[in-house]
């Protein structure tokens, strides 16, 4: 079968150009990618948190409460849910199963699947079956019992499903526009969560400051790295030397690590350029310019300057730039 394109309308690809895709498909592709990544982050945050609480042992109720609230603020999940259960039960259930909470894992997966269903013909069967499978798994009758039995295993399954989905995306989809949009979605979401994890966790840590002795402090710092899936690679870089400034530097500026903000921005720049090139355009697009500038900024930044400016202020600036880039992307491609 030959490609179904009209040569008078479209120049087929001696440069490897992709077929143009429907704006609505691009939009759904983007949101599918974001929600899958978001579900993974929520699962990881909760999993790390439960582990952390076991490690640090008894905390004062106030401190424990405060720790749980960082989960809500990291995911911008609104107010603390009410009820008579202990805070850990309330928040982990709320962030896992509550369909009325748009940040809960169930909501993220349902929305990712809704978007995938709307572009069922654009994605591979493997991707669809993976997403549909995890949806049936988490909405099925046994989900509650599985969760009760081992929250750790439960969250691990969600994370693995997301990883599997990303692997399938890379290996079963042509690396054309469709794929670029999934990449943009993934890295935008990752920057968003990573920046907020750094903000909220360092905020709590600095407030607690003197109250914490060294072992507990280390456990908390490990928690920050784990929340960003970065503990092992950090150790390889800096040995087991846990130090706040280095950790912040690693998570923001590390060159080759796929969880650092700098790496994500590089990928955003590359993917937006990919979209533009596959449309046969020669001038950098609006989102591409934004991400390109941000990439240069991060490349030449140093942690001392960042700390001098203020960690939160710096991260807020990055978040602003990425949301501008995201808006430019929607304007250029989705809202035709």
């Amino acid at each position: 079968m030959t490609l179904i394109v009209d040569p008078s309308q479209y120049r087929p690809s001696d440069t490897g150009e992709a077929r143009p895709m429907l704006s609505r498909d691009a939009d759904s592709m983007f949101w599918m990618g974001r929600y899958v990544e978001r579900a993974e982050h929520v699962a990881r945050l909760l999993r790390v948190h439960l582990m952390l609480l076991t490690d640090v042992g008894d905390l004062t109720p106030v401190l424990e409460h405060q720790m749980w609230l960082t989960i809500l603020s990291s995911m911008r999940a609104g107010k603390e849910p009410e009820g008579s259960d202990p805070v850990s039960v309330r928040i982990s259930r709320y962030m896992t199963f509550d369909p009325s909470n748009p940040s809960s894992i169930v909501s993220c997966i349902a929305r990712a699947r809704e978007n995938a269903r709307a572009i069922r013909e654009s994605i591979s069967s493997e991707m669809w079956e993976c997403l549909n499978g995890v949806y049936l798994w988490i909405t099925g009758e046994e989900a509650g019992a599985r969760f009760e039995e081992s929250p750790d295993q439960f969250y691990a399954h969600i994370m693995n499903s997301s990883m599997l989905f990303q692997g399938l995306t890379d290996q079963t989809l042509a690396h054309d526009q469709r794929w670029y949009f999934t990449q943009i979605a993934k890295y935008l979401e990752r920057i968003d969560v990573t920046a907020r994890v750094i903000e909220t966790r360092f905020d709590v840590l600095s407030k607690m400051g003197a109250q914490l002795d060294q072992p507990i402090r280390n456990i908390h710092l490990m928690g920050v790295l784990r929340s960003c899936c970065s503990l092992e690679s950090y150790r390889r870089q800096h040995l087991a030397d846990l130090e706040g400034q280095r950790i912040a530097e690693y998570l923001i500026l590390q060159k080759d690590y796929p969880r650092s903000i700098r790496f994500c921005v590089e990928q955003l720049h590359r993917a937006t350029a990919g979209v533009r090139i596959s449309n046969g355009q020669h001038v950098p697009s609006a989102p591409e310019r934004i991400f390109g500038r941000l990439e240069a900024q991060l490349e030449y930044a140093s942690i001392d300057e960042i700390l001098a400016e203020g960690l939160n202020e710096y991260l807020t600036r990055i978040e602003q730039a990425t949301s501008e880039g995201s808006a430019a992307l929607q304007k250029s491609y989705f809202l035709y």
């Binding site: 069922r120 013909e121 069967s125 079956e129 549909n132 035709y336």
Partner: protein, 490 residues
């Protein structure tokens, strides 16, 4: 497994009499008899899981939120021998040819009306007759590109045409998916037979679409137009788009400019040449038909009329599958083709005719009354099962709007063994066993450069005992349908 099977007094597809299968069913009966019932049930569950994981579902609107359900799949295949199929193929080809000539005639010269074969009143009173199409040239004079004809078998074992679905027949995706699942669940049984392949349907469909592309489109862009994710047949729309590799668009993705249709892409507007629309005429273009439609595309009909875009199927084909026009299809075949019909119709009484109406009203308790404006098993009276007040209600309706009704004698559909295990199919006494359930057959016919009848089709099953209604909206299931290769040729 078939020891207790009850053949009864209708035509049974599998058994001539208890314990004596028809020749083409003998190998599978042997195979199933060697299998224990638990093993069979495990396979049935496996099939269900495959359907669910793949999201092969349709949406039912029982409450405000649509619920996704899998289409119940009945594991025992229906088998059609080569000689029987050969007859069906010829009959269906003849029928779609006549129906296309009829559409062409009715929107142009209307010879069939002038020669008084069909009463003009029946045409002009049909809601599906589109005045907007009079005098419009459609590419290659093809109106019905895709047809899904419903066939049933009577007590005599003869095939009858119950309905020609010439608008947007659905179900073909289930035919292909049923086959794929069957091959995975029952590979050994499948390999015992030489079953004709159906997997090239998407390829043929794409060619049928390209055949009617406007002449200016050298390499035409084909798309499928869907009402959207909440439509009950949405799975099928995505399935066909995926299988053909074309884009699946919604009304909001298309725009008409200077008489051409374009789709909105990330690289700007792209011209669209052929649209396989899974949207009723009524919703296609708010400027031409229902103005409250948000599913369609404003200006689409103008682009269509000037020939800048092709629609598959054409607008106005509903007139050919209107239930009050259906009784005339054999006459059409004689009139346009000078041939005798190969497939027979079910005898039909047209309530708009005085003598027919009189007979219908006198025999309401023996007939099936159907509304000419509804489909999918809605708006029907099964006279022999209805209560006195239901019959009274229909009597009044018929007297008020005779054109809206036809009546047919009850066709005792043929039956086929179905596996009952309490989930999909419930047996009469609650046990796990095979029981006969009524079936029909919907083959799919493509009319492009040549007529292609897909060797197979959708066998729909009424899962309730004794029920004659096979529609999926009324609790029907489906079977894989095997058409066998001709043994002498192979």
């Amino acid at each position: 497994m078939f020891e207790q099977y009850h053949v009864g007094n209708v035509f049974d597809e599998m058994f001539i009499e208890p314990g004596k299968p028809r020749r083409h069913y003998a190998p599978i009966v042997q195979r199933l008899s060697d299998m224990d019932i638990d093993a069979f049930e495990r396979r049935r569950r496996m099939a269900d899981v495959l359907f669910r994981n793949q999201g092969i579902t349709f949406t039912v609107y029982s409450d405000k939120r649509g619920v996704e359900k899998i289409f119940p799949f009945d594991l025992v295949p229906r088998i059609i021998p080569a000689d029987e199929w050969e007859l069906l193929e010829r009959g269906l080809t003849q029928r779609i040819t006549a129906l296309n000539l009829f559409c062409q005639d009715i929107y142009h010269e209307q010879r069939i009306l002038r020669e008084k074969i069909i009463d003009p009143y029946l045409i002009y009173a049909a809601k599906s007759f589109r005045r907007e199409m009079i005098g419009v040239h459609v590419p290659k004079n093809v109106y019905i590109h895709i047809c899904g004809t419903d066939l049933v078998r009577g007590i005599d074992g003869k095939y009858y045409v119950l309905e020609d679905n010439g608008r947007t027949p659905s179900g073909v995706s289930y035919v292909l998916e049923n086959r794929a699942v069957m091959k995975r669940v029952f590979p050994a049984v499948f390999n015992q037979y030489r079953v004709r392949a159906i997997e090239d349907y998407p390829y043929n469909l794409l060619h049928t679409m390209r055949y009617v592309a406007p002449v200016h489109a050298i390499d035409p862009t084909c798309v499928i137009l869907t009402p959207g994710i909440y439509n009950s047949a949405y799975f099928e729309h995505t399935f066909l788009a995926r299988q053909m590799g074309v884009d699946l668009v919604e009304g909001q993705d298309l725009v008409v400019e200077n008489g051409f249709v374009y789709m909105r892409t990330t690289a700007g507007l792209r011209r669209v040449d052929v649209i396989y629309r899974r949207l009723d005429d009524d919703f296609l273009d708010p400027l031409c038909f229902r103005e409250d439609s948000v599913l369609g595309v404003a200006g689409l009909m103008n682009a269509y009329r000037v020939g800048n875009v092709a629609l598959v199927n054409a607008v106005g084909t509903g007139v050919a599958d209107d239930k009050a026009i259906y009784p005339f299809v054999p006459d059409m075949i004689r009139f346009y083709l000078s041939q005798e019909p190969i497939l027979e119709n079910v005898p039909t009484y047209i309530c708009a005719r005085e003598e027919d109406r009189k007979y219908v009203l006198e025999n309401l308790d023996k007939l099936v009354v159907k509304s000419t404006n509804e489909s999918g098993g809605y708006g029907m009276l099964m006279g022999h099962q209805a209560t006195e007040s239901q019959r009274e209600e229909f009597r009044e309706k018929i007297l008020k709007e005779p054109r809206d009704f036809i009546a047919q004698p009850v066709v005792e559909l043929s039956q086929h063994p179905s596996f009952c295990d309490g989930t999909n199919v419930i047996s009469g006494d609650g046990s796990r066993c095979f029981e006969g359930r009524r079936v029909d057959l919907r083959p799919y016919i493509l009319y492009g450069e040549k007529v292609i009848v897909m060797p197979g089709g959708l066998t729909r099953v009424a899962l309730r005992r004794g029920s004659l209604v096979v529609n999926s909206s009324q609790g029907g299931g489906s079977k894989d349908t095997w058409v066998l290769e001709d043994e002498e040729q192979s």
